[in-house]
Symmetry: D2
Subunit: 443 residues, 4 copies
């Protein structure tokens, strides 16, 4: 019988301060997900922190009285052997790289957010080579396992993985699940009765339908959103006022990141100001990380602490665990994931990654069909997808002209000589993580 099969779950970047969130989720669903072994993999430089996390994990498991063995290792291949699920949540270059990305980006006054603009580009070029290394090891060591990717930039990483590896890959982000929960709260209804359909790209996504009791409630949710009753935006994104004219006339519920496109000057000015005052995202993250680690060290702590939710990862564990459960149990749940387009969004290549509501089976992810987007929105999606695809190609090849063209197309990054300089500085300072670009420095 299937249910008796015990699962081996591997977490790459297991020393992340997010891990307790994931562990909490796994324990809550232990009935559905009969895990016998949980492997936390991290790198040498992260072992001090990882040990703290592993210890907390063990205490949480003990408290839940589950029979799961926790393994902490730097030997990734040992961990991957015959795995069933591999959760990838590593950060290439750790928090220092993110701080550096933001510093360089803001020096040249372009966006340094970790999934978009220069920061997103830099992060992608650091992360994709490692993600593919993992996937290649999986092809050899656990070819039937599923790779669940939470590492940012999740859309581009998923695209690289689906294009260049045969491993079954799903990219996950907590933005859609926050939207779904928020919509239910805003409508005052049970989330289980809602059928929300989202579509777009990672961090560029809209709720196209919020079906409840025979009706689409998008308009209702939009009105509440514009009235300031926003329960959808993760806590890590500061509150904001949407342009009513744009939002209403589009008739879809935007994810919080769309403010980068709909109100780029307002949000970027805020970001640059925060950067100047050291209250920008990367600095905040670094500060919370340090605090969290202190808390985790408390040997009496055996549950996920409240502070973790402020990092913006809320419900990410929920999404991850529900995804594993739906795959393992062939539940055919509707979930919101990054996967190969394959025609789901008209006007994008079949082989690119998109973020779409999909049916999760034990065999495949089948996206729901996306009704055609209004042309203007499609154009924005197409342009950003091209930014992403060119970035993936640049990451794979080290072709600096592809990098320039990617950033030139990005609608929230202006083009010009500063990009040339910013790119050079980015490559120089990240060269250990971007071997494909090494040829540029030797010149």
């Amino acid at each position: 019988m299937k249910q008796t099969k015990k699962l081996k779950v591997v977490v790459i970047g297991g020393g992340s301060s997010y891990t307790p969130e994931l562990v909490e989720g796994l324990l809550a669903r232990h009935q559905d997900l009969p895990i016998s072994d949980l492997w936390l993999v991290d790198i040498d430089e992260g072992m001090d922190k990882a040990r703290v996390i592993a210890d907390l994990t063990k205490r949480m498991i003990a408290k839940a009285e589950c029979d799961i063995t926790v393994h902490l290792t730097t030997n990734r291949q040992q961990a991957l052997a015959e795995a069933d699920f591999v959760c990838s949540q590593f950060r290439a270059g750790r928090i220092e790289a993110r701080l550096r990305d933001e510093r360089i980006a803001h020096k040249y006054r372009v966006i340094g957010q970790e999934t978009n603009g220069l920061g997103g580009f830099s992060n992608a070029c650091r992360t994709i080579p490692i993600a593919l290394e993992i996937a290649k090891e999986m092809e050899a060591l656990c070819p039937n396992a599923w790779l669940l990717n939470f590492t940012n930039p999740s859309g581009m990483v998923t695209e690289a993985l689906t294009k260049y590896s045969t491993i079954k890959t799903v990219g996950l982000c907590n933005v859609p699940v926050n939207m779904e929960r928020g919509a239910a709260e805003m409508l005052g209804v049970d989330r289980k009765d809602i059928t929300m359909q989202i579509a777009g790209l990672n961090h560029l996504v809209w709720a196209r339908k919020i079906l409840h009791d025979g009706k689409d409630k998008c308009e209702q949710v939009i009105n509440k959103l514009l009235a300031g009753n926003d329960r959808m935006t993760p806590k890590n994104i500061p509150p904001f006022k949407w342009d009513e004219g744009i939002i209403k006339s589009l008739g879809m519920v935007p994810c919080a990141y769309l403010r980068y496109y709909y109100q780029s000057r307002d949000i970027l000015d805020k970001e640059y100001a925060a950067s100047a005052s050291k209250s920008n995202r990367a600095d905040l993250v670094a500060k919370v990380e340090a605090e969290l680690l202190e808390i985790y060290k408390d040997p009496t702590l055996d549950t996920k602490p409240k502070l973790l939710e402020e990092r913006g990862g809320a419900y990410y564990s929920e999404a991850a665990c529900e995804l594993m459960s739906s795959i393992h149990n062939n539940k055919r749940s509707i979930m919101h994931v990054n996967t190969r387009n394959n025609g789901a969004i008209q006007g994008l290549p079949d082989d690119c990654a998109v973020e779409v509501s999909s049916i999760i089976t034990s065999s495949e992810i089948i996206p729901l069909n996306v009704a055609p987007f209004e042309t203007g929105t499609l154009r924005l999606i197409q342009l950003m997808k091209e930014f992403e695809t060119l970035t993936v190609e640049a990451a794979m090849t080290g072709d600096i002209n592809l990098a320039k063209r990617a950033l030139m197309l990005n609608p929230i990054v202006d083009s010009g000589q500063h990009i040339d300089q910013a790119l050079k500085e980015t490559v120089r300072e990240n060269i250990d993580f971007m071997p494909a670009f090494a040829h540029l420095l030797s010149k």
Copy 2:
């Protein structure tokens, strides 16, 4: 509470000999579908037969001890008022029209089957005006009701309804549900564990995926099909040997009707021969109808008789009732229906009807995304869709040139002067049902 709402279900063409099948299904699901009133609507000419059906229906309900009131009427508008579900299974021109269609088609040696070729064209032109009349009445009398269409040609009727009416419409055919049941049998697995995805047009449909336990089992099913172990084909379609080279190289499981395209000469020659010997489909149907009616008259009969299954409608009631239940209970079941394309199948217009596996909610039908078809198959689908769309336009406008162009494109009908004559004869003999074409006769 929702579950307490009692449902009013209307059956147009309620005097059909299929009705006991539907009633059986409704009774089996009475828990899910709390029906209080079942209205059987038919025309004056059909009342003798309809009374027999209504009486049998009442006996079946009594036996099942359900609290459903049966109404038999010729007053369609009275029946439609505040209905929740309207099942359309009428036959425009009754069995006589079908006999006539086959006679004319075979006289000119073209296909006279009721959903394709000249017969399909004729049937569509008779049926669409009535279907739209019903839909218009529903817009006024029960605008929130769902129209479930089983009337053939189901694809074209659904297209006309979705293009020219605002009523929520789903077209249903028993071919896909037979494929799903058959695939489970052939694989020896529980049907509930299978996720089958079909795509195409009505009677031109393939199983693209038959997912089970982490794998796609299409190849396995194809091999069994070629080996003669066919559990998919409805009983009304005679057994047949597929061309192994074509089927294997396409890698999809074809529905039985695809033999009209993959082996047109073989199947059409058989059809014409059957027609000559009065053993063709329409004659058989007329014969079985008469027999069934005699059986139905037996006042001791209070269940669906076995003979009904031979008409080829097997599992049609299952599909219809599961559809109503999934809508009523927002079950989000995956079902195989005819609905607006809206991008689901790449390369077809958004506003045409396609037959695709879809999620059924209480608010909407959301198709699963269809992975791009191999080009050759797409071309066949595109061509046949154009035949259908031109036929719908001809039915709406009475434009004989659209009719000619439709038939000229149909790949299993050859073109030429005989079509001109066959069309004239078809219009002349059906003129009571094709008022849009009246202008041609007055000339």
Copy 3:
């Protein structure tokens, strides 16, 4: 015989300081273009200037010993009656409006150029209503005449005209003809032996092919361009250094305006600085206009003065006259024009306006097929076309949300609250020319 038909040519905005350039061209081709009557139409406010222009025109004609009668009028309908060619070169709101556009745009730090960004939007909304008024008069008074549009923003005005009028319309810009002449000079070959194919949108156009003697010379021209040997850029555009990596890797010859996209920060910073120092484009134009008018007044002047070429309109007369000649004489010349897409550029709607090399016949403009663009460039074109199309719709309807969405999509305009304010100011200050937006002020 056709050649004996005498032509009536009407110039709307005939009082423009460009007119002598056009007149020079017409006189040079008098053999091909047997004009009997040249009508200069202008508005009351422009009559002082127009009289100066008309007098110079007469002196130029006299010197050339051509038999052309010059008519100066404010009565547009009288002029249009039975016209053969109507050249539209009016400026809605005159130079003052352009100065105002730049002032508002730069106040909110967005691009104020007359064909792009906020300035282009404003100009389109002022110009399109008048252009359509003219077209509607032509439908009544000279339905077979050709409308040659030089009024900026030429792409959007042409799109509005082809969508909303039945008059045969061609949009013309002097950028492509400058590229063609320049390429010939840079290659040191006879321009007649070159076949240049351009494609894109107005002011967003590339030479895709520069064929000469059996070879495509694009790479050669790009190298010369990058080496600083630029003979393509009109004099009104300041010199500039392209990013070599971008240009070479794209492999097409960009028009000068592409620097707005490839190096947006560099060029916009320059524009804003010029604006601050009153050396921006609109101010320069106003200054040159005044100087030109003084020169034109000289009663001994009977040729086009040199200074006119500095306005950037060089070779515009050549393009206009060659276009008229090719139409009149069915020459089937290859020219570079704005016309209905109709499939020429893949990925754009059929009914939008594009700038493409085309065959000019007496009956129709037939674009040359455009080989598919590399995806990144296509995305840029698609996005800007959507900006244009939304702008046209906003101009036609006065829908401020369409305006916001247009500007939000424009990749060289950032979005946000400043756009809301800038739009309001633009509408308020131009309300006499934008009646469709009047409803916004009365609120």
Copy 4:
């Protein structure tokens, strides 16, 4: 100076009875086409006939007093070395193969015409390997030469050449040039004043525009065609009556071969009847061939004999010579050729061959943009293109399943077991010319 360059022209299949037609054309344009050497290449089996042709050619050249040396050889590589133009008009398997194709096709009652159906398939599979062999030799021996292909099936051969060789290739057919001449005659105007635009596939082509004096004359030409005044159809195609309803409602001028689609039964019945009575096309061709050869042997004959025109090749020399002249002299003439689609016809792959009106330069063939086809016609084109593309792939790979799928899709060939048998017989009887299929026989 270019004009002084002397040209080397090679004719593959130079022993064809068509050659005198080509020679006549070359002589008529000797001013434009300064040929010094004309190489006739043929195979051993054809040398007897080829010598007759070569002798007649020499007499024709002598009469015209041109300085062209004629070479007759079986050494193709010697002929190709440094050639400027290579005309391919060979017939793989000679007339015997064509007779065989028709025999097999008619035995199984499917179309045996040399460019369509089973006959077209067989011809393509014989011809494509040889055509590619020639192209590969050209890549080595004369990489800058142009390959002008007249060998049927011209569309499929051109597609194979453009997909699998780097040689500049143009496919030519005399159908469009006959349409253009015929249209001028029917309109009573000078052909030079007409701009006809055709589009489609080889032998599946329509005149989309017939522009003259500011108007499109398609409707006028259609009316004359329907009235029986057909000057467009080559003499080798028997007269025929179009279906007025279809032709008028499509609004395009069909080429004569479209009767195979618009009136398939009428034309195929005629073809099969002719076959039975030995008056079918291949038999007629064989008979005329024999007669022609007798005439050619007459040592006093020094011009092209009248009888040649009856073979249906009329104006083929005109097209061929005009094409060479337009390439050599960079004339930018509009001609109707088979070339790579590259977006010219929307809805077809970029890399397939289409027949479209194009600009002929010395560097490239640039198609005119084709306005989108009405959907029904597009579907027909798409389907037939897929037949062609699958046939090309089958010819390249010897994959019998591709062959079956190609023929299954062909709308004028019915599918079934007879195709399986017909294919086997075709392969068996042509195995010397279809080495890719040899694996099937060894089984």
